[in-house]
Symmetry: C2
Subunit: 271 residues, 2 copies
């Protein structure tokens, strides 16, 4: 079955790994609104989290980055007076170095992503939502500055950016038999992707809710819903936010996915 999954970072990656294990024809369209420049390198947090998770290299206990990571460059950067609020590990740096060098040569982000995912042995197709920069701006700051550096203070303003869908995105949507929304933040992960895609195709749309009992497993979603939707955080509030029909929605404690086994179970339940 041809499945297209729209996904952000950490939460999304868990379901994506479950879908990937089912050996579907899976295309993941990933949010790039979080992408930003740091230390002169172009960082794609969501694309990398999905890539590392599907390649089996992710540090699942820490919840981000690579297993067996070391931090030599970060400590040396600190000594040189560089900003150290975003934790780039030594192995992770290789991804950003490689990507940045290719981008500077004019290679589009989608092709860069193809090369990196192929080198790391990822089976499913991972596509950035757009090859154009589509920064998400929260309270006038780029997303990672707001989330990591400022530790996600209350949202006063939120602006997402739409760009032309990356090569392969439209074809994947045209051929899709099922659309899946991963358990990612609607406002800052899924909305930016929808902005690039335009309309979803006329096939079933399913979702695993990013909220469990009104709480987010990780990230600032529960605090964002009251501000942005004017009501308490709930899966229904998110469905109303999207405004289109869902064929199936999974929510509740059974959608917690700490282990690969859980991820496959939830992916199976969704399908």
């Amino acid at each position: 079955m041809k499945v297209v999954c729209l996904a952000g970072g950490v939460g999304g990656a868990k379901l994506v790994q479950g879908l990937d294990a089912l050996e579907l024809d899976l295309t993941v369209i990933v949010n790039t609104g979080d992408d930003f420049w740091h230390w002169g390198l172009f960082i794609c947090p969501d694309v990398d989290t999905i890539t590392y998770t599907l390649s089996g290299l992710a540090d699942t206990r820490r919840g981000w980055g690579l297993e067996g990571e070391s931090w030599g460059a970060l400590s040396a950067m600190r000594r040189l007076g560089a900003e150290d609020w975003f934790g780039l590990g030594d192995h992770d740096l290789a991804t950003h170095l490689r990507r940045t060098a290719w981008l500077r040569e004019g290679v589009p982000l989608s092709e860069v992503t193809r090369r990196i995912t192929q080198a790391l042995g990822v089976r499913s197709r991972i596509l950035p939502m757009s090859d154009a920069p589509c920064p998400t701006i929260v309270n006038g700051e780029n997303f990672q500055t707001w989330l990591v550096r400022q530790r996600a203070p209350a949202v006063r303003s939120l602006e997402t950016t739409a760009g032309p869908p990356a090569p392969g995105v439209q074809a994947a949507l045209d051929e899709a038999e099922l659309i899946v929304l991963a358990p990612s933040n609607p406002y800052v992960s899924i909305d930016p992707i929808l902005g690039c895609i335009g309309a979803l195709p006329q096939v079933p749309v399913r979702m695993v809710s990013p909220l469990i009992g009104g709480e987010a497993v990780k990230g600032p979603l529960a605090e964002m819903v009251p501000v942005l939707a004017g009501r308490p955080p709930s899966t229904q509030a998110l469905l109303d936010h999207y405004g289109f029909a869902f064929d199936r929605v999974l929510e509740g404690p059974a959608t917690l996915m700490p282990t690969l086994e859980d991820r496959v179970r939830v992916a199976r339940a969704l399908l």
Copy 2:
């Protein structure tokens, strides 16, 4: 006493450290002919070797790079199919990241070098010979490709590049009471600097020979002299190559400088 030392990398750094310990007013004008781009970063091998040595951070046993270095990024770059013939360590990477980001912002190399040496606690003034790229080309390849990747095959052609001296170079020469040539390769370390400087001022010029009994402590000099000077390698061949008068030349086994104590002893003997 105001001393200006012209120096390349590893050999030069040893004498420079000895001079630095004597608490002179020391300016080191460093070869940048070896500088090159690698992994999208601008690498300055000689400037960094001198900087790391004077800051006490150099790995003196390995003879290059930083003590306590780790190699996570290199192994991850290998996994991503990147070139791995030039060993960039994780801590070392920070220097190149910081420098490259500043250069891309338009900060000149001399100011970048000032910032890095200051952050690492270097007392003496380290100046690149020029802020302009001055690549040394051996057999049609950039210097590091020839030296490290190809392991220094016989020289068929050698081309050095002159650029305008970096800010501070001319002033240091004008005020110098003594010029010192560090034990560096005349053809690929000192000649490029002389090409940028033009004429040396009318003050005593002293040298520690990079050859001991016709052999180089490190590097390809001994093999280069017969090809480039048409005679066996000797300190006299190097003096004849320079063609200007030296006030004092140290040569022989006593100029081996593995330890800081040796370096100070030789620096004292030179002065």
